[in-house]
């Protein structure tokens, strides 16, 4: 798909200090000018406040906010929300109940100059499959349909930045699963930067390229997705369901055994048969507890996937287990093994060994 919002890579600079009663939030971030930046952290840590401040919905004095060559906020100036070229998707779809589905979709599109219209309502209708909704009143739409319309409505303004505040959080699991592919389509088709607030690891693993980890009142870390996911000084890599997200390219299918091969830069992974086309870029979620380590590439095992790796870090997880950081080619990977096995294998930083991957989930 061609990208109508094709952007030169611009950076987003966000510097804020919010003080409101007991609530404090200090943010100093440089974010990439394209791709999805996931914003994660415990509830109440200020994720939504950050997004609202970026949108200008809450006025934070003295902040600095620059998107490419657009200065949205500086110590001397504040550009009001309606003059910022952004799209905002709220947790609740917040559709205009007094307008039709089409009028909702076109509300922002009508308000931008014709020469800035790079995404037409027709294109969005197609991408988000909104056609079937047009004949119904807004009040008759389901949760997932409402949110799809809200996303389309925000994108119809051809924004330079898309802000999404837990857009799937208020949906039931079925609607969530139904809408995720649409978000992935958008992710693959649009180059504009997206700030995506979420507390669902699965959404982040599927959609984000970059991750901002927040703690109450501050930013703990910011960086490329897999780097952050595998940093053992952060909570994410120490969680029970800690996982790395590897990117690879579908190499081909084995129709006899109904398997799919995915090429990573560190080797080849075999998965159960997938529908993806060869050559397609895919993400694989590999949970730390599904990875075991051996010193030699064993052949007498039922585990098909065995990748050469190097140990880059060892961090205790609990009394009996440790989390091992590995490098698989250029991509970090996590393994959770018992302290006893680590000692017996004499794992130290730099040890070359083999990671046996029991399962990897294609995202």
């Amino acid at each position: 798909m061609i990208d109508p919002l094709n952007q030169r890579a611009e950076r987003l600079t966000v510097q804020f200090e919010i003080h409101r009663g007991d609530f404090r939030l200090a943010v100093d971030l440089e974010l990439p000018g394209q791709g999805v930046t996931g914003v994660v952290g415990p509830s109440g840590c200020g994720k939504t406040s950050l997004l609202r401040a970026v949108a200008g919905l809450d006025r934070v004095e003295g902040g600095r906010l620059v998107l490419g060559d657009q200065i949205w906020q500086s110590p001397t100036g504040f550009r009001p929300t309606h003059k910022r070229r952004l799209g905002y998707v709220f947790q609740e779809a917040s559709l205009f109940e007094h307008l039709s589905v089409r009028a909702n979709l076109e509300y922002g599109w009508r308000r931008i100059p014709a020469r800035e219209r790079r995404l037409s309502p027709e294109t969005l209708t197609q991408w988000l499959n909104l056609g079937p909704l047009f004949s119904r009143p807004v009040s008759a739409l389901s949760g997932g349909e409402r949110q799809r319309l809200a996303i389309g409505r925000a994108l119809a303004t051809s924004p330079d930045l898309l802000l999404m505040d837990e857009p799937l959080a208020s949906l039931d699991p079925a609607s969530k699963q139904a809408i995720l592919p649409y978000l992935e389509t958008l992710h693959d088709s649009l180059s504009i930067p997206v700030l995506y607030v979420s507390h669902a690891p699965e959404e982040v693993a599927r959609l984000a390229d970059h991750l901002v980890v927040m703690a109450p009142g501050r930013v703990l870390a910011s960086g490329p997705l897999n780097q952050i996911l595998t940093r053992t000084d952060l909570q994410l890599a120490q969680a029970d369901d800690a996982a790395a997200v590897l990117t690879g390219i579908v190499d081909g299918h084995d129709d006899h055994y109904a398997l799919t091969r995915v090429a990573l830069d560190g080797g080849m992974l075999t998965l159960t048969r997938q529908s993806h086309r060869p050559g397609q870029r895919v993400r694989l979620r590999v949970a730390a507890r599904d990875v075991s380590l051996t010193l030699s590439p064993s052949t007498d095992t039922s585990i098909l996937n065995c990748l050469p790796v190097a140990v880059t870090g060892l961090t205790p997880h609990d009394a009996s287990r440790i989390t091992v950081q590995l490098n698989c080619g250029e991509q970090p990977l996590l393994a959770r093994v018992t302290r006893k096995s680590a000692d017996e294998l004499r794992l130290v930083v730099g040890t070359r060994c083999y990671a046996q991957i029991k399962t990897a989930a294609l995202l």
């Binding site: 003059k83 709220f90 007094h98 509300y107």
Partner: protein, 226 residues
Amino acid sequence: MIQPADWVALGITLKLAALTTLILLLLGTPLAWWLARSRWRFRFLVEALVALPLVLPPTVLGFYLLLALGPRGPLGAASQWLWGEPLAFSFTGLVIGSVVYSLPFVVQPLTSAFNSLGSRPLEVAATLRAGTWDRFVSVVLPLARPGFLTAAVLGFAHTLGEFGVVLMIGGNIPGETQVLSIAIYDHVESLDYSRAHWLSGGLLLFSFVLLLAVYGFNRRLSLVKP
């Protein structure tokens, strides 16, 4: 039966109520908006002032208005200087008095309508590039329509039923400031119960039908929306 003088009184009454409602919608909308959105510490002062006509006896309100509008009052003197006549005992004076008297009946429904909107629809509109005025016209006005209807009808109906204030500041000049409620009072005073019946019954019926229409319409609106 209804006599020509009564028709004149009816005409003045309707003109007064319509004009007052119009002015109140124009003045009351920004005031109600401000009351609904402002976080000013002393907002309650304004709220109390707006509600004052609800609790004051109309004669008290009329008395102070008479002083203000009379030749020695600030408004009356200004009018005397500008147009050569004071405001008391004139139709213009009646309009000013009615606006003050019916203010809470228009401002309060509007304020509560604006309050119940919340800030979300406005925030959404702002992220969709709608400026301040655009947001008000395209989002607030349509969503607050039941509130506007209630406010207009209450303002209108309340002005129709005005008596004390009108008597104090308007006098009882037929063809100029004699409104229906005062005409009825006159008929009763002169024991002309038949004319009083026609006017009273008519006003009762009219007011009831008006309110029926509003509540029916607002109910339909609220049924359409979830």
